[in-house]
Amino acid sequence: MGWVSDTVDSIKSIKVREVLHQLIVLGMIVTTALIIWKGLMCITGTESPVVVVLSGSMEPGFQRGDILFLTMSKDPIRSGDIVVFNIDGRDIPIVHRVIKVHEREDTEDKYYLTKGDNNPMDDRVLYNHGQNWLEKKHIMGRAVGFVPYAGWATIIMSEKPIIKYVLVGALGLLVLTTKE
């Protein structure tokens, strides 16, 4: 109970200037993170340079909770590449391997078929109705490296959003009540 009255006291004794100072520091931290993220997007050439593996369809190579590093270079996509793609109308990116490539010379059309290593069937069941192939515009990047287990925090926060609110709330409280 003493802790509660201490916290209430410290909230009462806040001066406006200190709060503003804390808020600015917080803003700087958030902006720096954003700059780093956008910078990474520029360097790697893809909209999402880092993704978390959400499903078990690429096991045993990639487990749920691994983080993948992606780039999008001008090199053509070839069978065997592990690519991250979006299906029109769905915003969750999927990480699977390209198993078939058909390229036309005259119109620059390129068609790809993908499959998760651990899935028995290729990805046609995942594509939109009537869509049999992926095209270049669906592909967001190619996986070049990974770090195991590092993405679990993101998975927990997106599957149990209450944890996200609890964390942000606790952080906010911490910012407001620390004296330095």
Partner: protein, 167 residues
């Protein structure tokens, strides 16, 4: 400055940074490995070769694949994903790559193997161009590490030809 919170935070940051460095160094040691895999593919039999109702050619074959990929494994290797693709050119499509068979190898001992199998994935052309078609077999491998940079490479075996008539 000496509260539990500060100390825990400092320790955690330090631990994560060291872990990051160790992962990077582990990945770096992979660059000292110079692999020299070998592979041979034989078409034992063309099971059948038909034109589908939608106009696309399809062929089914029994293959004998023998390979030695042991030099690809390092202490930092989690698995090697290997697949065999057929590559050919048609008037309409300047590049076609069809994966016919793949496997995941997790142990170094299992990476020296010989198997006889029919193609795991269907060999279907977009069109009707496969009669008498010359093609390459390409064995691709992806070395997926326990942590760090992935390595992919391939070995091209040219000089295979499909039968001139449907059967």
């Amino acid at each position: 400055m000496h509260s539990f919170g500060y100390r825990a935070n400092a320790l955690f940051t330090f631990a994560v940074t060291i872990l990051g460095f160790m992962c990077a160094i582990a990945s770096f040691t992979d660059s000292f490995n110079s692999p020299s895999p070998s592979v041979q593919v034989q078409v034992l039999k063309v099971n059948w070769f038909q034109k589908q109702p939608n106009g696309n050619d399809e062929v089914s074959m029994t293959l004998n694949i023998s390979a030695d990929l042991q030099t690809l494994f390092t202490w930092n290797t989690k698995q090697v994903f290997v697949f065999l693709a057929a590559e050919y050119v048609t008037p309409k499509h300047v590049l076609n790559q069809i994966s016919l068979w793949d496997a995941i190898i997790q142990e170094k001992e299992h990476s020296k193997f010989t198997i006889t199998t029919s193609n795991k994935y269907r060999f279907i052309d977009q069109g009707s161009n496969l009669r008498g078609k010359e093609f390459n077999f390409t064995l691709h491998w992806h070395v997926m590490p326990k942590t760090g940079k992935m390595l992919a490479d391939k070995l091209v075996m040219p000089g295979y030809r499909l039968p001139a008539e449907y059967r």
